[in-house]
Amino acid sequence: MNQSDLSWSFLTGYYYPKFRVVIKNMEWDERYEFLKALYDDKHKEALWEERSDEPIKDMMEYVARKDYFHFFCMAFTVQEDGYYTIHKMMREAMRKFRTLR
């Protein structure tokens, strides 16, 4: 396993279950903002578009299609040498997790 795979393996094992707990504890309006922020920061050139009058519902459908893992991956920037940076919102989510559990 190369270094970046090893890091992804750690991130998914350590962070993903916690991320799911935090995100599922959010109301959908808060959840929408959270996921949108992760998306926008990862896709600066093509930000999240609100394509209907019901953006939250659209987000729900998108999540149902793509799964939370899709957004989870946006919270990390993993380099080839395995070093990574964590999105500040993910850091904050982990703090919330400590108070939730």
């Binding site: 393996s9 094992g13 109301e27 850091r91 982990m94």
Partner: protein, 590 residues
């Protein structure tokens, strides 16, 4: 529950009946009592202990012979001490036949080394009168069996890991989803019916204590912990019922009883050659607990700084400059300072008992649990009370599983000594560890607590790495696995969280206690409206509080004001018709 096959394995090893364990595990405690018992009879006997004091006398009398040497030294097992004499005087001097010059020189080398490094020695001799003193005259002196050397070998450790792994245990992940995984040695050590049969503690505290029970053989291996909680949380009970029965550990006295000389040793102004060994070097490679550390003199903390980071200290008096090894794990158990809930205190001020040395000391503490109550887990209070009752009834001391518990303690004492010498390499996980630490450094709590004078605290980095290695050791492995990293990071962050977040400042300014904070949390959980706040009928909430036996705390919560912007408002607001709204946060930033 520990599986029967694990108990059987442990028993076989302890009794010396396992194929890879030829001899039963012995109790190798230093002991000078056997010597003291011959004080009157003056029979030849043997004993063991650590040299704590050495003096040299020159003797040139008609009876002793010309230019003779007499070495006076004290040997202690921690409880008792014996005054000993080794010499090369003639028999006429009245102290038996003296040793040959080269033998005395060799003995003196052992005496000096034991004094410097706290290594135990084995003595043989008998009592005799010397002037007006009764002293133990040495026939032979040699190194005692190294108490730090484990009586079990690597093969037994490997076998134990395999025996554990044959069992699948139920666990739940962070999402609460149940799954099965192999049992590990750490699971066995943390089981409530084994080493923790006499006390209830949360998992994070158990892990911290077990890491503390590892023996440091390199200065980088030292693990220092701080437990700062409300009085009556069972900190000393933890030492009596878990640590001391398991590993070698001494508790330092409080305040005036833990003097400088008692801790570090002393040189006599009258005789600079007379050097006494303090408690710290006596516990080299072991551990010390400072209970009620807030009563210690601040100067003692000052000297402790070197020991905590270097594993040795130096003493100077006159022309002497002496180095003493004190590579040991230290635990500081205490209460927050009395002024602590006054206006504008900070959460980290729970540690202000360290006085002007607060910053350097907390920098050296690998783990700090600064929380009002040690155990917050589900039903913790009920479980603690149950354990207290079981202790009163001597359920463990006289129960049917007392032999199993005794075997576990004996086995893990030797297990911990063996695995403490393992040096798992961190390199494989350097990117993960480096990235995680960088993220920890970015936490506000970290900046608040440690990185006040610079961007980071390199000691904390070393401490995190040490924790990772510690978890690998506890699981009997010489190589790291991902779980070691998981455990270490979780524990490190939990510890950081308790240091900076356990005590909401606004709450304490208004005289709120832990019980009220806990009730607030319970109300948010029970009556939460999804926004992190709570709402409900006044009588219903009051009934709930009464059901939790926290009626007084409910009255208190109703009087609390939190600031919203510049306008203070009640934490519990009456929205009319007996409908209440309860705010989520204490610090006015909701």
């Amino acid at each position: 529950m520990i599986p029967k096959t694990v108990h059987d394995f442990v028993k076989k090893v302890v009794k010396g009946k396992h194929p890879n364990q030829a001899k039963p595990i012995e109790d190798r405690q230093a002991n000078v009592l056997s010597i003291i018992e011959t004080l009157v009879s003056a029979k030849t006997t043997i004993g063991s202990g650590v040299i704590t004091k050495r003096e040299i006398k020159g003797v040139s009398t008609k009876d002793s012979g010309k230019d003779k040497t007499l070495i006076k030294f004290s040997v202690s097992d921690g409880e008792n001490s014996v005054q000993c004499v080794a010499h090369n005087c003639n028999e006429k001097y009245g102290l038996g036949s003296g040793l040959k010059g080269d033998v005395l020189t060799a003995f003196d080398t052992i005496v000096r080394k034991s004094l410097a490094e706290g290594k135990p020695v084995k003595l043989k001799g008998c009592y005799a009168n010397f002037k007006s003193e009764r002293v133990f005259i040495i026939d032979t002196i040699d190194w005692a069996e190294d108490v730090q050397k484990s009586q079990i070998n690597d093969t037994v450790i490997k076998d134990f890991v395999k025996v554990c792994a044959k069992h699948q245990i139920d666990d739940v992940n962070d999402e609460g989803i149940a799954y099965k995984r192999p049992l590990t040695p750490l699971d066995v050590m943390m089981d409530d019916n084994g080493l923790w049969a006499e006390i209830y503690a949360d998992d994070d505290l158990k892990q911290a204590i077990l890491l503390y029970c590892l023996s440091p053989f390199e200065k980088e291996d030292m693990i220092h912990i701080g437990l700062i909680t409300n009085p009556g949380e069972g900190k000393n009970h933890l030492v009596d019922k878990v640590i001391t029965p398991l590993v070698r550990c001494r508790m330092a006295g409080t305040g005036k009883l833990s003097t400088f000389a008692a801790m570090f040793g002393a040189m006599s102004s009258d005789d600079l050659n007379s050097i006494e060994l303090g408690l710290l070097p006596k516990m080299n490679n072991d551990r010390i607990v400072f209970s009620e550390f807030q009563t210690l003199e601040q100067d003692v903390f000052g000297e402790m700084l070197n020991v905590m980071s270097d594993g040795y200290y130096t003493m100077q008096k006159g022309k002497l400059d002496v180095t003493r090894h004190a590579m040991l794990n230290m635990a500081f158990f205490g209460n927050p300072p009395n002024y602590w809930n006054e206006e504008d205190h900070k959460k980290e001020e729970m540690l202000a008992a360290f006085g002007p040395y607060t910053m350097p000391i907390i920098s050296r503490l690998t783990l700090i649990f600064a929380k009002p109550t040690l155990s917050n887990g589900a039903d913790a209070s009920t479980k603690i009370k149950e354990k207290i009752m079981q202790n009163m009834d001597k359920t463990v001391a006289k129960g049917t599983n007392k032999e199993e518990i005794a075997n576990l303690r004996t086995f893990f004492r030797e297990y911990l000594k063996r695995v403490s010498r393992y040096q798992p390499k961190l390199d494989k996980y350097k990117a993960i560890l480096g990235s995680e630490f960088k993220d920890i450094e970015a936490l506000e709590q970290f900046k608040d607590a440690f990185a006040k004078r610079g961007k980071t605290d390199y000691r904390k980095w070393a401490e995190l790495l040490n924790l990772v290695k510690g978890f690998s050791r506890l699981n009997g492995r010489k190589e790291l696995v991902m779980n070691d990293v998981n455990y270490a990071i979780t524990l490190f962050k939990d510890s950081l969280e308790t240091l900076t977040s356990a005590f909401p400042r606004t709450a304490f300014r208004q005289g709120i206690n832990y019980e009220a904070i806990e009730l607030h949390r319970q109300i948010l959980e029970k009556f939460g409206n999804g926004s992190g706040q709570a709402s409900g009928n006044r009588s219903e909430i009051a009934r709930f509080a009464a059901g939790q036996k926290r009626k007084k705390e409910w009255d208190l919560l109703c009087k609390i004001k939190v600031s919203k912007g510049s306008h203070p408002q009640l934490l519990v607001q009456d929205m009319g018709k007996g409908f209440l709204h309860i705010g989520a946060k204490w610090d006015g930033d909701e």
